[in-house]
Amino acid sequence: MKNLLSFILLLTFTLGFVACNDDDNNNPVEDYSTILINTGENVILKTYESLATHAASLQAATQALEVNPSQANLDAARTAWIATRSPWEQSEGFLFGPVDQEGIDPSIDSWPVNVTDLNNVLASANALTVEFLAQQEGTLKGFHTIEFLLWGETGQKTVGEITTREFEYLAAAAGALAADAQHLYDLWKPSGGNFIANVTNAGNGSQVYISQKSALEEITNAMVIIADEVANGKINDPFSQQDLTLEESRFSANSKADFANNIRSIKNIYTGVFDAFGNGDAISDIIRDKNAQADAAVLNQIDLTIASIETIPGTFSEAIFANPAAVAAAQQSVRDLQAILEEQILPIVSNL
């Protein structure tokens, strides 16, 4: 998703740039290698590594649940799902590269769940294996199909209500998710597909980014895109239509955490830190140098936005009806963040 302002600014600054191309060639171009390297190696790659590790744990938890269907094992599988969901949502601030180009996003995170086909598969005699699911559409696997099976349509499912076929399906779907997550990590890491080299070597042999600026623009645009998606898609669709079937992660009541982790994804990229990783060399450094006020505004708004999402009372499903003011405030906060990113940050990056 794009919006008008960023687009006009892009137009403006690019035209300015084009017109003055000859002059600018004489100016020294700043080197942003350390920023691109830290962002690639310590934020993006470590997020995907965390996703792969947690997805493997989720697979193990669903296998334990299949072998021993206890409430404790169901709870453990649900906890593992939520833990895996966190790095995934923290990766949605950089949905470019293999996740986009290799069709991995739909395989991991399709919405809605194809409930009709899911019931038909469960009622069939098909062997429920990772190989079988690898051949199915994303709407029959990935996070939300697993979530639907773990929690049920109303989120109230008990272990006694889950059928043997559903346990098998869960283990297979978690296996397919773990394989996808590992594949995604492999495509980025230097010893695998090495997509990371396109980012770290931008403008210096990268096949995808002809300049460091174009890589930084992609990264900045991706932050804008996820802010837009959270405000105007994930929150707005169920909220404006008062329709819970449009709410992602409603079975697990994890929607608020999804939204907050999406904003954390922006924070991680912008500040160059993910969990214990990262030295802080980040886009923030560029912005602070050019416009310290804009940098402070983003940092402040990111924290305000995360807090406004997390302080929505109860579950997001409940709050849509019971606390519309809190939902509207959180939505506005995300929109404010998006506006700062688009109106203040993107123009600086586009004009580097």
Partner: protein
Amino acid sequence: MFDVEIDYNMRNVFLSCITVVLCIACNEDDPVVPIQPESVLAGGETTIFSTGPDAFTFPLANLDEAGLSRHFIADGIFGQQFVSAPASQFGGIGPLFNQNSCESCHLRNGRGIVPQYDGDPNSGLLLRLSVPGAGAHGSIIPVPGFGGQLQNKAIFNVAAEGKLGKTEITQLVQYLDGSTIELVRPVYTILDPYISLPGEVLISPRLAPPVHGLGLLEAITDDDILSLVDEHDADGDGISGRPNIVWDVLAQDTRIGRFGWKAEQPTGGQQAADAAHNDMGLTSFYFPAEHCDGQDNCSDGLQTGYDADDETTKLFAFYFQTLAVPAQRDYDLPEVKKGKQLFETIQCAGCHTPKHITGTHEIAALSGQTIFPYTDLLLHDMGEGLADHRPSYQANGQEWRTSPLWGIGLTQVINPKATFLHDGRAKTLEEAILWHGGEAEASKEDFRALSKKDRDALIAFLMSL
């Protein structure tokens, strides 16, 4: 979804800012702004300036605010995955389909990816099918039990029609300077058909094409296209060119075809609805019935209404009609300038007509634009090497519509695995040129005779588009 509050007047302010920026930026060092050829603005006032992987994802630069909000809604629909009916949201996929969303094939609005292995379910290439002969208005005759296209996927409990298989034939081409290049031609087959295929099935592989700029192509006038027709090569340049004449399902009449590899669709609306119908199994007001050709595997469980409601069907088309084309890059590099000259000299421009002026379109932003798509939208005989031997309407088995070239240099920035030509056989633009034959034989031979430096210049020009 658009909600930054900027009205149309504000935009004019921003546009004036552009001028200001230009003046300020160049004030001291360089009072003379370099003269920019008009062809740099490939889409006229609709042109955008992205050079990155999202270059095909921007709306028309001059789209009004109402159009923009509609574009952003359409953006969501273009990426939406559909599921089996009944469903609370987005039901109606299939029962037979190729992919469950538009974007699954048109990656980042660019090209699809050819199958990476036999039966690859994630490819953006499909097989059009027919049996010999011509139906009403010259249309293809569908294959009994399969229809006009192989759907390699189906909703659960329904048999997909079959899988794609591929063998490859390698050949060597030599340049006059002695260097050689290997070309690989794929031969697609149908594996594991759900029922046996009739004796003679014509197969035409089709790679999902990029979808940017299609509104501008729709806005080119019929008269403009017809003025380029030279069916019997009256001017003796070896290049003829004729329009495809196809069936317009809403008008219930024949019309000039513009869209698709053989120009088989007359309008953006029908192009979108046809793709939704054949590729995703979505019925609509254009195509009210599922594509069942004497098939019993053809109920998707949705008994009433269309799978895609009227608004959704219109949004599919509105999205690509309002997608912008990127500006030309590096136009002032000597190599690119040289390549542009060669493009004219060796007659590439004989079919890849650089310039058009659009007529009136219901989307006002598309009207009256001076554009540089590098296509005449006509059919040309491209020789035996590219032939699919599957006639459709006026297009014979060797004819293909001239592909637009705008944005082609960004193809592999948008999708590094993307390839060129109707079946994605060309890994590079150089290979694509060398596959040209028929009416383009002389141009191809001229290219083969060029020095390495000049060949590189021509490619550099194409990469700048």
